[in-house]
Symmetry: D2
Amino acid sequence: MAGNTFGQLFTVTTFGESHGPALGCIIDGCPPGLALDEADIQTDLDRRRPGTSRHVTQRREADEVEILSGVFEGKTTGTPIALLIRNTDQRSKDYGNIARQFRPGHADYTYWHKYGTRDYRGGGRSSARETAARVAAGAIAKKWLQQTFGTEIVAYVTQVGEQEIAFESYEHIGRNPFFAANESQIAELENYMDSIRKSLDSVGAKLRVEARNVPVGLGEPVFDRLDADIAYALMSINAVKGVEIGAGFNSVTQRGSEHGDELTPTGFAGNHAGGILGGISTGQTITANFAIKPTSSIATPRRSIDIDGKPVEIATHGRHDPCVGLRAAPIAEAMLALVLIDHALRQRAQNADVAVNTPDIARR
Amino acid sequence: MAGNTFGQLFTVTTFGESHGPALGCIIDGCPPGLALDEADIQTDLDRRRPGTSRHVTQRREADEVEILSGVFEGKTTGTPIALLIRNTDQRSKDYGNIARQFRPGHADYTYWHKYGTRDYRGGGRSSARETAARVAAGAIAKKWLQQTFGTEIVAYVTQVGEQEIAFESYEHIGRNPFFAANESQIAELENYMDSIRKSLDSVGAKLRVEARNVPVGLGEPVFDRLDADIAYALMSINAVKGVEIGAGFNSVTQRGSEHGDELTPTGFAGNHAGGILGGISTGQTITANFAIKPTSSIATPRRSIDIDGKPVEIATHGRHDPCVGLRAAPIAEAMLALVLIDHALRQRAQNADVAVNTPDIARR
Amino acid sequence: MAGNTFGQLFTVTTFGESHGPALGCIIDGCPPGLALDEADIQTDLDRRRPGTSRHVTQRREADEVEILSGVFEGKTTGTPIALLIRNTDQRSKDYGNIARQFRPGHADYTYWHKYGTRDYRGGGRSSARETAARVAAGAIAKKWLQQTFGTEIVAYVTQVGEQEIAFESYEHIGRNPFFAANESQIAELENYMDSIRKSLDSVGAKLRVEARNVPVGLGEPVFDRLDADIAYALMSINAVKGVEIGAGFNSVTQRGSEHGDELTPTGFAGNHAGGILGGISTGQTITANFAIKPTSSIATPRRSIDIDGKPVEIATHGRHDPCVGLRAAPIAEAMLALVLIDHALRQRAQNADVAVNTPDIARR
Amino acid sequence: MAGNTFGQLFTVTTFGESHGPALGCIIDGCPPGLALDEADIQTDLDRRRPGTSRHVTQRREADEVEILSGVFEGKTTGTPIALLIRNTDQRSKDYGNIARQFRPGHADYTYWHKYGTRDYRGGGRSSARETAARVAAGAIAKKWLQQTFGTEIVAYVTQVGEQEIAFESYEHIGRNPFFAANESQIAELENYMDSIRKSLDSVGAKLRVEARNVPVGLGEPVFDRLDADIAYALMSINAVKGVEIGAGFNSVTQRGSEHGDELTPTGFAGNHAGGILGGISTGQTITANFAIKPTSSIATPRRSIDIDGKPVEIATHGRHDPCVGLRAAPIAEAMLALVLIDHALRQRAQNADVAVNTPDIARR
């Protein structure tokens, strides 16, 4: 496969460039009978949409989704679901220099050398705009997981630059422009982000994504472990540079007597494992952290070269996120959902008979 | 796929349990014409082998590999290469309790619930012994990469528990039992590991894996990015809990002006990217760090339950690594090699014509 | 995969129902740099289009294709190419009975039992209308093969019902409504088809598809042989019931001394093999025949049951092809092109170095 | 994938050359809990084994299978099952000329050009000996299908050269060296085969393979239709040149009113469909015919060329089947079983909930 398909049984194949006519995806393998309409998908798309606060890009996109197939009389039919999102705010402008220069920290250089050509308008395929299709597909996965297992997936920002964000409550997440599970630090974060923007620079972020009510038994060792596929899924998001499962890098200094979660008749006594042992879900909450690098498009002038290898100076002006991590929460939720539904179907394929005899799974 | 195949064009399908008759793999897609014999593979197997110092498990396995197919007159033929490693030191013993109990931090619980059964002898399929097959396959990938691009892959331990290991020189790595790029701290590390072992406990580790002389252009966005596949590959190794590419979690506090590597006519001015931009290799050294949790099998008694849900106390005696991370370096090298060869073949498939026109790749 | 993706390196994922808003596909893995616009695709779509003669369905569809991504400044970029074809002639009508009844010879019964639901409008996903997406994707594959190897692919009808059609010349194929390589029998065929239509019945057909100028070396034994993949590709077309490669079923009565094509310094002395030996292309013309069953939708009343298992009588009136085989030629060409491009990329991946040293391939 | 893996959820990856040390396979995705030992596999291997009558090759191979993994305490564990069959009768002999010459009708020419090298000993990977691994894997699939659905798979020879073999009874199949469902023509067939062998020539064959008690709903349109995958599976067997499903090429002259099987409250009134409609199983018996070309290795001298393009004369002496089709029945059964188990698991993955509500499937 050429790399634009995610999953093995619930597959999502995406397409679309930042400034092309449209982007979207085909979902193949969605079980039939799931109630679905555009509104189910639009909700998550609206959470990811640009232009919703002054701290993110001011590009204006309605991101309106159209279901082209696979749904009949309000329910999925088991055939491919095609989703279409038209681009509407591709500003016509002079791309002159961008077409011939490689922006530092960007995919310009590598796309050019890989393909021998590139769509330079707005980053083309390498634009974070591509994640709209992921979020749309993920919304379907989330709905199926919720209805089948009661699975709840949530992501939130735990750090922006030097600012660590204390966890206060899940219910705050949707009420601030930072996807922060926090209420008391919001003003402080607003000021921090304003200062970053004014400095013509950008900053990184750290997020956490969790899934509750995941059945035990998901994951296919030895390679397609659940944690391996989560790492793959999160690292495939633009700008992600690190992924941790459970205790993550803190495991390095832990002792075995501390890290290994004891079991009791009422359940596990801890969750350093992040809900995964031996690459298979334990039934506990799945937890992962990931790091997002600072946006590469900044107004501060930087050294680079053009396609002839000549030195140039580049400063990117325009509608860019000073912290791209602030819009990553819905994308991470979508990716985790895509991993989980795929493994749920895989588990069902191989172990259908086991499942019905297993109390943990039967509890669904 | 049921999860035991790695790669898409250079595929490795592994089999084998810790205490079964044998383990091994089939490699499909190895280009023809590569000079290959058992010795090429044995070298890396010997580096991974147990029982080589007092700091690792004392199980004695020759780990002797037999090539069953795919090689004729000393060269690969393009047909599947099957590798066989017989197990020789499966001690006969009474497994009584282990068969019915779930060891904390182990895959016992999840295998039991996933499959409704498990081979409890030495951890069965979930044993780190499984990685011998990976190392064997990786040796072939390393040889092809070396001969085709001059690619050099090396992994080393950068931290054991609280002990950070300073980088001194690559040449030290093979000369101490810790895969440390260090000479001056070895005595200290010996003492540290002795103390861990005597405390009947275990400890985590952090490693770094690097690949030099990687051609530009490897990686298939948007999902099968090179970094995403490296994260998947490293996280699929037993006990790995975190993966970083380049600056990793340090990116969170970096500014865009710091993180984004500038380009100059003579090359990149830095490598925070870890050799990957937009999911595609830049031609720079690829760098990744990963965290390994402390061994779960420890002699300290711990609480758990049996398959009936009754509480039990478990202490694991026997031949276990006090720091499983100390044997992970050859495995990480193998996994990185498997990612790189697979993407090299994928790049060749899609962009054969581009490649010959691209100076960076042509330089191979 | 859930079954709607064709190929491994040049993948085509299709979507769309007969009476839904649109159908189309995503092509992933098309090499960059191929000149491409809508007109390249429209030509083949027009050849497949319904309503072009009185011998095929009178449904009127413009089948106008829109390229949504993957093409920039008139050339492919190496990123996914999405193609969209809006449905325009979905007549609103009362589907009442069709929704609850299973038409003999149709997929109604099996879709209902497989998915527990079905889009009954015009056959939904099981409609031959789905093949428009294949033809669109195939047009791109054909263009690349033509430009890369000079490959020419052509399909034609060799029999309709009892009427065997003598081969006269390739140039006749595009000049009659039967895709017949024949000029002298056309009037006879017109009369035959008129009589079939008037009898309220339908009839089967036999076609032949050929590819000239195929490089030697395509095909991946032991399973993904070129002939096996051609059989899969042709049998995946609606209504196909049989596939032959080369001598096909005539091989049964042949002697080895007759069937095995001798080699001479100037080439093969025959082509009973159909251009494939050991599952790998020989460089000769690839030849395959296939059988298409008579259209199941006929106006003659037939016995069936409804979804409650009650007996019903069904006669299908409306816009149906009396011989669905008459429109199959462009579809077969597309499928053969998709097989060949996929195997060309696979060959390039694994044997790039061999290829340049091989006279037969180098002759491209 | 490089072509040596069959299936998507129940995958079989095979390896091995005719005169290498061994052949075998890894099965990944076998559901856990299936009772399995070597004897289950050996039975089918013995049916395929060479040297069992004077009408087949006189090579003597025990074809003894060893299970290396994936089975514990007599049951499958859900982890990969590796099967090993050592070659024992690779006669040492002078291969001199064969190494440099291309036998007509053989894969010598194509392997040489594809890979730039080939293992010429006994045909290497292209030898029909490779099918032993398929038969071994198929035996496991057959057992699971039999226990899960009561599925019975049987193949038999319906024609040898000009000799059509009348169907008399299934029970005769195992009682003659021709896998003929016939008792009265056996003496005639013996004489016929003797005459072929004495003429230093070979002859083709036609076989039929059937599966009874297949659940409704197997098959994944639009590409991975059950019939398309059966065509792929059968055409992937050495020497197969044609495949028919149900009425096959007879469909060409049929009318729609004849071909389309009517439905009644007690079931289908016919089976021209061969148990498959719209690419999905109907629950009826699946029927397929296939053609096998005459053996290419014959003692009659034939024209060919060597690797330098020089003309040579080749006559193959030694231990060859005068009609390779006579040993194909167990192989076809294995391939059909591998298709069915894979699609059964795929159906279970996507439609687990549908299945339990579907009378036809519930009847299993």
